[in-house]
């Protein structure tokens, strides 16, 4: 605002540049779809091998009564597990911040949980839990919570050393330096973890549902994909897949927006270059 060097370019050019930046991925997507449809038609690929975008779009509309509710089921599990992950990951990280010992003792097990493929644990969880929804939630949470935990734990340790000294100089209590210094310093880290976890929660929800293979009215998109593949309704399979991708993008974008809203005034990652 004070020095005009950054905005030396006329506003029109800047706006055009920004629009171009936003339009580029859309253009690429449209181009790929066009090419896809063209190839499918030109080579006369049968729809049970590879349906074109038009066939997929048609299936999406026609099968919406089936796919719509499933989308809600999958989204619900993904978002709930993301919430639980955020609470559990941040909570555990805060606990770790209280005692280095606790962190040393527990962190390896968090890693074990992270590196064990959820596909391998899901059957066990399904056996131990009566409720399918609950077991799906557990699976998705196991996948999603680790980046939040790891990021938040690092963030809580990464406050400015001089600021920590300053707090010490003024005789701050542990609680004060946690709430006034370490938690705000960890917020960008937490949000970055949350953004990664958003995608993972969706993946966890879908994978767990594949393993569970639960059918019926309350089944999610993963089951619709399985079901469609058994029935060789390949366009519907692709339609469900497209819905999962779209959900993933939506979650990612929503969390990005949250990040921007919370950090835009002070954190480097969200600041526009001014000077």
């Amino acid at each position: 605002m004070k020095d005009g060097t950054a905005d030396a370019r006329p506003d029109g050019t800047a706006l055009a540049a920004r629009l171009a930046a936003q339009a580029a991925p859309v253009a690429v997507g449209l181009l790929v779809l066009l090419l896809w449809e063209g190839l499918v038609r030109a080579l006369a690929v049968p729809p049970w091998i590879l349906p074109g975008p038009v066939a997929i779009g048609t299936a999406l509309v026609a099968d919406w009564p089936l796919l719509g509710p499933s989308l809600l089921v999958t989204l619900r599990i993904a978002l709930l597990s993301l919430l639980i992950s955020a609470a559990a990951g941040a909570g555990l990280a805060l606990l770790f911040a209280q005692s280095r010992w606790l962190e040393r003792a527990l962190f390896p097990y968090a890693v074990v949980l992270q590196v064990t493929p959820v596909v391998a644990i899901a059957p066990l969880i399904l056996i131990w839990t009566d409720d399918v929804t609950a077991s799906l939630l557990i699976c998705a949470t196991i996948v999603a919570f680790f980046p939040i935990l790891a990021n938040t734990a690092t963030g809580l340790r990464s406050a400015d050393r001089n600021l920590e000294d300053l707090f010490r100089l003024y005789g701050a209590t542990r609680r004060q330096s946690l709430l006034l210094l370490r938690v705000p310093a960890a917020l960008p880290w937490f949000l970055a973890g949350l953004r990664v976890a958003g995608g993972l929660a969706l993946i966890g929800a879908v994978v767990a549902e594949f393993v569970a293979g639960a059918g019926g009215a309350g089944s999610g998109l993963a089951f619709r994909i399985l079901e469609a593949s058994f029935q060789l309704r390949i366009p519907r399979m692709f339609a469900a897949l497209a819905l999962i991708s779209a959900s993933g993008i939506a979650i990612f974008a929503a969390l990005g927006l949250l990040q921007r809203l919370l950090l835009r005034r002070w954190h480097e990652s969200e600041l526009r270059r001014e000077r």
Partner: protein, 317 residues
């Protein structure tokens, strides 16, 4: 070379003894009036007697004797430091990088402990009695200028209303009255440093410790901040210990300069520039130049000293 450290110290004291002539003026720096005799802790008549330690006990905020600091790796950052910080003075620690001046400042602040020797601290320096200004502004990037300045009060459990009023007054005192709501990112380097100084002064401390606070600023900003710092010093009567590697800055600001040498960090000379206030034009006056030359010579002697393997070098010739 010139001889061992103790000899240097006397030489330095003698050399600038003339500066003590105006020592009556040091009283304007806000020293306690009850201190006896002519100039508080600064016997004007006999400069060589002004050895650290030779002062009235109630005059001393901090007394270090034989203090050393050895880092876990075995490095001797400081050795055999005898130092008394007297109420109301503006004391600069001048030395090349690596001479342990920042380590010494951290010891004074209580952020670090000496591995040898004793450090006595006046009761006035309990929590809130000391302000610290780092090399970097060290502000919380998520908090406004007002929030940053209020922090020490908040940590002391002072309520929001009073805290904000006092923080606003402190911001006003450093010339940032209109910037209460600004975030650190929105301020220039010099303004951020002003916020940092306001934060250090908001508890009305008895002692202000500053660790090369203006080293990263341009010369114009630094000159303005030097002027303003001296004004704050004489208005508030706060005692200042100021770490710097700038000869000019130390002479301009200080009532007393301790020159340090490295390997290990030790005090090798003491200088007494004429005490502030600094009239306009002081920076270009011959007197200032002469004192700078003197300080420069002391610093060069300090840097030419051989590394000391033992804590004490060979006896004087």
């Amino acid at each position: 070379m010139d001889g061992p450290a103790p000899g240097m110290r006397h030489a330095g004291t003698d050399g600038v003894g003339s500066g003590g002539a105006g020592s009556g003026g040091a009283g304007s720096g806000g020293t306690r009036p009850e201190a006896a005799a002519p100039g508080p802790g600064q016997p004007a008549a006999s400069p060589p007697a002004a050895i650290p330690g030779g002062v009235q006990p109630d005059d001393a905020l901090l007394v270090l004797s034989g203090v050393g600091r050895r880092f876990p790796g075995g490095t001797r950052a400081l050795s055999d430091i005898d130092l008394t910080v007297r109420r109301g003075e503006f004391l600069s620690l001048l030395g090349p990088s690596g001479c342990g001046k920042s380590t010494l400042l951290r010891l004074l602040a209580g952020l670090d402990r000496p591995s040898e020797g004793t450090l006595r601290r006046d009761a006035a320096l309990a929590a809130g009695g000391m302000g610290f200004v780092f090399q970097e502004p060290t502000l919380m990037p998520w908090a406004t200028a007002l929030g940053n300045v209020r922090l020490p009060l908040r940590l002391a459990g002072i309520g929001r209303r009073e805290g904000e009023a006092r923080a606003a007054a402190a911001l006003e005192a450093v010339g940032l009255g209109g910037f209460q709501r600004a975030l650190p990112r929105e301020l220039s380097g010099g303004m951020r440093m002003r916020v940092s100084i306001a934060r250090a002064l908001v508890t009305r401390p008895a002692l202000l410790l500053m660790d090369e606070p203006f080293a990263a600023l341009d010369e114009i900003t630094r000159h303005r901040l030097n002027d303003d710092l001296l004004a704050l010093w004489s208005e508030t009567g706060v005692t200042v210990v100021f770490v710097t590697h700038s000869v000019f800055e130390s002479v301009f600001l200080s009532t007393r300069i301790l020159v340090m040498a490295a390997h290990p960090g030790r005090i090798v000379a003491e200088l007494r520039p004429p005490p502030p206030p600094r009239p306009p034009g002081f920076r270009t006056s011959p007197g200032y130049a002469a004192h700078c030359a003197e300080a420069m010579a002391a610093l060069e002697r300090a840097m030419a000293l051989p590394r000391m393997v033992l804590s004490r070098a060979a006896p004087p010739a």
